[in-house]
């Protein structure tokens, strides 16, 4: 941080002169529909430089006060209209400004059905607007990932969870990249922090897709306003404002959707005050996994209500207050209970219910020392109850363990003793419903103040804010609806764990100044996060996230429309983002080692007594746990050459301290009573009662008739290692870098067709070098006793501890617009030109794996040979090991070599810690041959009343194969690499 400390005084020196007060003016006017001349109520007019705004009233009138003199850009937008941007030179107050808005439809020459660069952003941000969303007919908002540079179309069914995962290569990569992608709907952060099941990003299945107005994807370094993220922000905006009835019907072989929305305007009061607008939306979407068996389904039933209004009368006349309050509810989820292929009465149902509520207020103060103040409050409550009804069958009595206490326990019939730690379930067939109650709640309160001033030609915006967010889970975890027949599970009440609170404060300055013909935009910000977990050993954790953006627009684009080089800009960003942990890291669901220490013989009615030693596998607190960080940097060039737009951006992401769970072992011994040791006892088998001393583990056999004295069964001591789990950080960074390009060629006028080429180069490299312990559990030592050695490996005991990958994807999209008939047709050729990966086995201080010709002869390796030089087997040895009897670390290889000649038993045991590769091609380079897929989409508007869209993905039904240079085999393209042929139709009515 020393660099930032040096920069801060410079920043402040730039800003302090802003205390000087300048002359201010007023802009007022009317927003009207260009074609009809009707006023456009609720149109928002914004001074871009200072973010001063106004909302047009029922007559389209607006007024913005306290505007500084000089050039300024005025942006006017309203749902259903194309955003109007115009530059004004303010030398005095402006009255009666007429702003004419074009209806946003396919009659326009410039309708866009791809992702657009956000030219106002100093970092990489792309916007997918309504036209593009309707054209692509998304059912899951994450489907829009295919519109990003190099994005590939994926299967669009909802029966499997989908997530955003920006600038990453998928779930097989380290670093929890999807977990670091922040998703917001109308400013409401959707969080997966309170999840106990995984370290992944929030699923997007329950976000209604039909009511989305636009999506902005920030893949670069976002404002410090955004915390708790690592690799990008996805901002989903739903439809707002006074809108006509909109009915959308979509169908595809796997998904049906019906949605209705309407924005009701309530007019004005007698005093002329706006009564606001209520946006309503209803959506019903049902998706099935397989058309041939349309019974396993995902259902989304969503209703959304948002009321928004502006107070601009009376005391608020010159300082209007805009606010909105909204609530969205979703009922639905996954259900396979109707599937006739499943056994009778078995099912799996998982709710995906949620309620999102938000309140937003923006008060335009336009004071000398503060421009506006904004408050956001939101809460997201989800109900993800999973219920699974399973059929069980056992030919002897079975034991379900529910004990969470450390120690011995003997099974007891539920019918005799009721609930107990080791329930004996009678032999036979039964059903049981096991449920997991998961109810996360995320709440957020944010306060932000903006101070925007213009100093001559210099615009400055200072943003200061703070937010508090809290994650909690009200679920009770796993439970059974019938404990007498429930399978083994342990109660772990999520709701008993404390909430995670994060308090953040940030400051960011955004400076725009003219340099030469162009402008220079500098943004510097610092965010401070303080995560507090009450009652947890982690206590308070503080982290800092500095971020910088710079963009230099070399040319004045507006004045160069007749030049070859019309626009040119450079941008660069660097920043740090901190990702809070999930509850699966903070409070991992405890697991238990249940050691079967005794099994009786079976009686004539198949009753078997079993005893266990229950050993909770402690989730150890790691005082050294650090919050996962992402260092991002990027550099981009944007140019307009004779109407051909080029965007190039290179990025570099480094994830450090990524979260993971690691294992340690501790020595343990217990008493074991063999079946044979009780079988021959004189007490007749039919008269036996088995009891267990919970302290000593001794089994006593009693005669229920009382004829014979109780007998303590002989037992033996077994020694073994048992594992424990602790939170940890991955020591080695995970690096991702790449290049993204977009080339939008100037439209070929005679055929109304434009060509867009977008793609990306992506490179990933990760090597885990954490020292990790491993001891096989389901094996025995050379002495026939439990295995009693633990090996310590650099990067764990997998033969590969890392992976490198590179990919080049390129898409060519032809878009033909026929404004005369209000139709747009697009054909997109998606191609994978490079798909390379290779397993790695590396360590910073030498070789981790050795090349061996014969896996049985793993000690005979060539020190100088590399595992990467052609095909070979590889052997991995632990650095050292400990044994149950000797906790002192022993050098592994040295001892193994010695044991081979001197101690066969030790050699046999240590050999089980040696890891050899399964395949000769384990570390071979894997190039997947290039492959292609083509998508076709068409949208046609029928007047202003209706529109129809049709798409066919992989419409050539490419069912080819790709060649793997690693396995030297062909494999089918679909559905692993490209989606199967798929199509859909959407009809929309507006009235």
């Amino acid at each position: 941080m020393p660099g930032f400390r040096r920069l801060l005084p410079i920043l402040l020196a730039l800003l302090l002169p802003a205390a000087l007060h300048a002359q201010s003016y007023t802009i007022s006017g009317t927003v009207i529909d260009k074609s009809s001349g009707e006023p456009v109520e609720f149109a928002t007019v914004v001074i871009e430089a200072t973010e001063q705004w106004a909302v047009a009233d029922e007559k389209g009138r607006f007024t913005i006060s306290n505007i500084s003199a000089g050039k300024t850009v005025l942006s006017t937008s309203c749902l259903g209209y194309v955003t109007n941007t115009q530059e004004l030179t303010v030398t005095k107050s402006i009255d009666n400004l007429k702003i004419k808005l074009d209806l946003d439809n396919l009659a326009l020459e410039e309708a866009v059905v791809t992702a657009k660069e956000n030219g106002n952003s100093a970092t990489t941000a792309r916007i997918i607007d309504k036209t593009a969303l309707e054209h692509v007919q998304m059912m899951n908002v994450s489907d829009i990932s295919s519109l990003l540079p190099g994005g590939a179309t994926q299967s669009n069914v909802l029966t499997s969870e989908k997530r955003f995962d920006l600038r990453a290569g998928g779930a097989s990569e380290d670093g929890n990249s999807s977990f670091g992608t922040a998703v917001e709907v109308d400013g409401v952060r959707l969080s997966n922090n309170a999840s106990y099941s995984d370290i992944k990003g929030v699923p997007t299945n329950n976000i209604a897709s039909a009511n989305v107005e636009s999506v902005e994807v920030i893949t670069g370094v976002p404002s410090v306003e955004y915390g708790d993220m690592g690799s990008g922000v996805v901002k989903i905006n739903t439809k707002k404002g006074k809108t006509p009835w909109s009915v959308t019907m979509s169908t595809s072989p796997k998904t049906k959707q019906l949605s209705v929305s309407k924005g009701f305007g309530f007019g004005v009061t007698g005093k002329g005050a706006s009564m606001g607008v209520l946006n309503t939306s209803l959506e019903y979407t049902r998706s099935i996994s397989e058309p041939m068996s349309p019974y396993t389904s995902y259902l989304r039933r969503q209703m959304s209500l948002t009321y928004s209004n502006m107070i601009s009368t009376g005391a608020f006349a010159s300082r209007p207050l805009r606010y909105s309050i909204g609530v969205t509810g979703n009922l639905g989820g996954y259900d396979n209970s109707a599937d006739p292929d499943k056994f009778t009465d078995t099912f799996s149902r998982q709710r995906d219910n949620s309620v999102r509520a938000n309140f937003n207020a923006n008060w335009l103060l336009s004071l000398a020392w503060i421009t506006n103040i904004e408050i956001n409050a939101s809460a997201v409550y989800s109900d993800k109850l999973l219920r699974e009804n399973k059929n069980f069958h056992e030919s002897v009595t079975q034991v379900s363990l529910h004990s969470v206490e450390n120690g011995y326990i003997m099974s007891e019939p539920y019918s005799v003793n009721g609930p107990n730690g080791a329930v004996m379930i009678p032999a036979g067939t039964w059903y049981n419903v096991l449920a997991v109650d998961d109810r996360p709640l995320t709440t957020k309160l944010a306060l932000k103040a903006n101070w925007a001033r213009k100093f001559g030609e210099v615009n400055n915006k200072l943003k200061i804010g703070g937010d508090w967010n809290m994650d909690q889970n009200f679920g009770i975890g796993t439970y059974s609806e019938d404990l007498s027949t429930a399978p083994t599970f342990r109660e772990y009440r999520y709701c008993d764990n404390p909430s995670m609170n994060n308090f953040a404060a940030y400051i960011e300055d955004n400076l725009m100044l003219p340099v030469g013909q162009g402008r220079l935009n500098l943004i510097a910000g610092l965010r401070n996060d303080n995560t507090y977990i009450k009652g947890s050993a982690y206590g308070l954790t503080t982290s800092l996230s500095p971020r910088f953006n710079a963009k230099y627009s070399v040319l004045d684009a507006a004045s160069r429309q007749d030049k070859i080089l019309r626009d040119l800009s450079f941008r660069g960003s660097w920043g740090v983002a901190v990702k809070q942990p999930s509850f699966s890291i903070l409070y991992p669901v405890p697991s238990y080692l249940d050691i079967n220490v005794f099994t009786s013989t079976a009686s004539a009615d198949n009753v078997v007594y079993r005893a266990y030693y229950v050993r909770p596998k402690t989730i150890e607190y790691n005082a050294a746990l650090r919050w996962q960080k992402n260092h991002q940097a990027e550099f981009g060039i944007d140019a307009d050459i004779a109407g051909n737009k080029l965007s190039l951006v290179a990025f570099y992401n480094k994830t450090i301290d990524s979260y993971l769970l690691e294992t340690e072992y501790e020595r343990f011994d217990y008493k074991y009573t063999s079946t044979a040791d009780v079988q021959g006892l004189p007490i007749p088998a039919t008269d036996r009662i088995y009891t267990l001393n919970p302290a000593t583990g001794t089994v006593t056999v009693s005669d229920k008739t009382g004829a014979l004295q109780p007998i303590e069964a002989v037992n033996s001591t077994r020694k073994q290692f048992i594992s424990t789990v602790f939170d940890a950080n991955e020591l080695s960074p995970i690096t991702r870098c790449g290049l993204e390009w977009i080339l939008e060629l100037k439209e070929i006028r005679p055929i109304h067709t434009s060509i867009r080429i977008d793609g990306n180069f992506y490179s990933y490299n990760a090597v885990d070098t954490d020292m990790a312990a491993y001891s096989p559990y389901t094996t025995v030592g050379a002495d026939g006793q439990p295995f009693r050695y633990v090996g310590y490996y650099v990067g764990g005991n997998a033969i590969a501890n890392g992976r490198e990958a590179r990919a080049v994807n390129n898409n060519i999209t032809l878009v033909t617009r026929i404004p005369q008939v209000r139709m747009i047709v697009s054909v997109k050729l998606e191609s994978s030109l490079l798909n390379y990966s290779r397993s790695l086995s590396e360590r910073p201080d030498g070789k981790r794996s050795y090349r061996v010709d014969n896996r049985a002869d793993f000690l005979n390796y060539d020190e100088s040979a590399s595992i990467y030089d052609g095909e070979s087997y590889a052997a991995l040895f632990p650095d050292y090991y400990v044994s149950w009897d000797n906790p002192e670390p022993q050098p592994f290889l040295e001892k193994l070599r010695w044991a081979k000649d001197n101690d066969a038993a030790l050699y046999a045991d240590l050999s089980k810690l040696v890891v050899t590769s399964n395949y000769l091609y384990q570390f071979s380079k894997d190039y997947i041959s290039p492959y292609f897929s083509a998508n076709f989409s068409v949208t046609k508007e029928i007047g202003d009343l209706a529109s129809v869209s049709f798409y066919a993905n992989n419409f050539f039904n490419n069912m080819g194969q790709v060649w793997s240079t690693k396995t030297k085999t062909y494999s089918s393209l679909s559905p692993r690499y490209i989606p199967s042929f798929y199509y859909g139709l959407t009809v929309r009515f507006k009235f």
Binding site: E394, A427, T429, A602, Y672, T675, Q679, T778, N918
Partner: protein, 438 residues
């Protein structure tokens, strides 16, 4: 009566010259059994001595030293003997003849009768029920009721104490098999077979009477019919059980044993691979039976330095090199549902061919009857039951071509000799119902 003229001519010679030359005097000779380059001290074996013309035969029984005494006239004779014996669990036929018994007239001459051993497997895998059967509510297959029947296919009591049972890797014939290449099995010409999982052995002496069997329960030695009516009752005091009691890592709850089975009937095993239960296939196993002493077995199974690691990583897919010479039974089963993906796991010198099985329907793999040998047993007169209808040929399976209903015949008191061709496809058929179900 084959050569009446010879008898007549001999009579004429004797009658024509009764007083010519010296009188012939019979002398004592001894014939000693000899085998494996050493005298064979086998008492009670009948040695037959016949003259060169085969006109005169003498019989004498060996004493404790394996010697039989004869009193014969000088001349050329042929001595022969044949008998069956058990050796290392294998039925041995010792057979030999000596055509050079030239008796010169000197009393006390000693001749050797060298015997050759012809091995016949005394113990065979009669049945392997592994595919399971439908549960009562048809919610799936029940496969915890597996059992193996070891049968004494001879008239001599068998010692099964050193029998070991295991499976060849991989445990499914249709699984990816690193031992099988385009050139066939990589160990085809080696002296071993890769045995994985667990190698089981008897913990107490086991004797199997002639034409009798023992049942070895694999997972649950209990009455499975209590909960699955299509299953079998394995709670029988005569049955054996593959016990997990002394194998700490084999912790699967399916290992249970009935009160009625004594600990002496518990098998134990050496765990070769990482697992919590013996991974014996439900549909396509390669089961073997071998004879090996306890110390030899322990050395084989605990010396990982001699393991074969061809199949996999760590000890997940390691295999012990089971010597082919010790293997006395092999059963190769292919899964009907994935026949094309199946590959052999026994080298051709141990087993050729395979039997196809459909799992989960209660079918079992049952040995075919050696019709000729069985019918040749005089004690079977009137006891053999024909018109066997227990096969599955009507549902695309197989049946016993002998036509003898082995189980019905045994119930009628017959002794069954099962077929031994070392070809699982010829030796076995898919039986509709497990034999213990009857």
């Amino acid at each position: 009566m084959k050569h009446p003229i010879r008898y007549f001519m001999a009579f004429l010679l004797i009658a024509a010259f009764p007083a010519c030359g010296p009188q012939v005097v019979a002398v004592d000779i001894n014939v000693q059994l000899f085998s494996d380059d050493a005298p064979l001290a086998q008492e009670g074996i009948t040695i037959v001595l016949s003259d060169a013309g085969g006109n005169v035969t003498f019989g004498a029984v060996t004493d404790a030293s394996g010697t039989a005494a004869f009193k014969v006239n000088p001349g050329s004779y042929t001595a022969s003997a044949t008998f069956k014996s058990a050796e290392d669990g294998k039925l041995i036929t010792l057979n030999g003849s000596n055509t050079n018994i030239d008796v010169t007239g000197q009393s006390g001459e000693k001749f050797l009768l060298i015997l050759q051993k012809v091995e016949i497997r005394q113990l065979i895998i009669k049945e392997f029920y592994t595919g399971g059967c439908p549960k009562n509510d048809n919610s799936g297959a029940f496969t915890d009721d597996k059992y193996i029947i070891i049968y004494n296919n001879s008239e001599v009591e068998a010692d099964a104490s050193d029998v070991v049972i295991g499976a060849i890797s991989p445990y499914n014939a249709n699984a990816s098999n690193k031992y099988f290449t385009k050139d066939g099995l990589v160990y085809e010409n080696d002296s071993w077979l890769p045995a994985g999982g667990v190698v089981w052995y008897f913990t107490s002496p086991v004797k199997i009477p002639a034409y009798s069997q023992i049942v070895v329960a694999v997972f649950g030695a209990i009455d499975h019919t209590a909960t699955v009516t299509a299953s079998v009752n394995l709670a029988d005091p005569d049955y054996y059980w593959m016990s997990n009691a002394d194998i700490p890592a084999i912790t699967n709850a399916k290992y249970v044993v009935s009160d009625v089975i004594p600990p002496s009937h518990y098998l134990s095993g050496y765990q070769i691979n990482r697992q919590n239960a013996w991974t014996i296939s439900n549909t396509a196993p390669a089961l073997f039976m071998a004879i090996m002493g306890k110390s030899e077995l322990e050395a084989l199974c605990t010396n990982t330095a001699d393991y074969d690691l061809t199949a996999g990583t760590n000890d997940i897919s390691w295999a012990v090199k089971m010597p082919k010479a010790n293997v006395i039974g092999a059963l190769e089963v292919y899964a009907a549902a994935s026949l094309e993906a199946c590959h052999p796991r026994f080298s051709s010198d141990v087993n050729t061919g395979h039997i196809v099985m459909t799992g989960q329907l209660g079918y079992t793999i049952y040995r075919n009857v050696d019709k000729e040998a069985t019918e040749a047993l005089p004690e079977n007169e009137g006891k053999l039951v024909y018109n066997y209808s227990g096969g599955t040929e009507d549902v695309g399976g197989t049946t016993d071509p002998s036509g003898i209903d082995a189980e019905a015949s045994i119930a009628a008191g017959a002794h069954i000799i099962y077929l031994q061709t070392n070809d699982s496809g010829k030796d076995y058929h898919q039986r509709r119902i497990a034999s213990l179900k009857q």
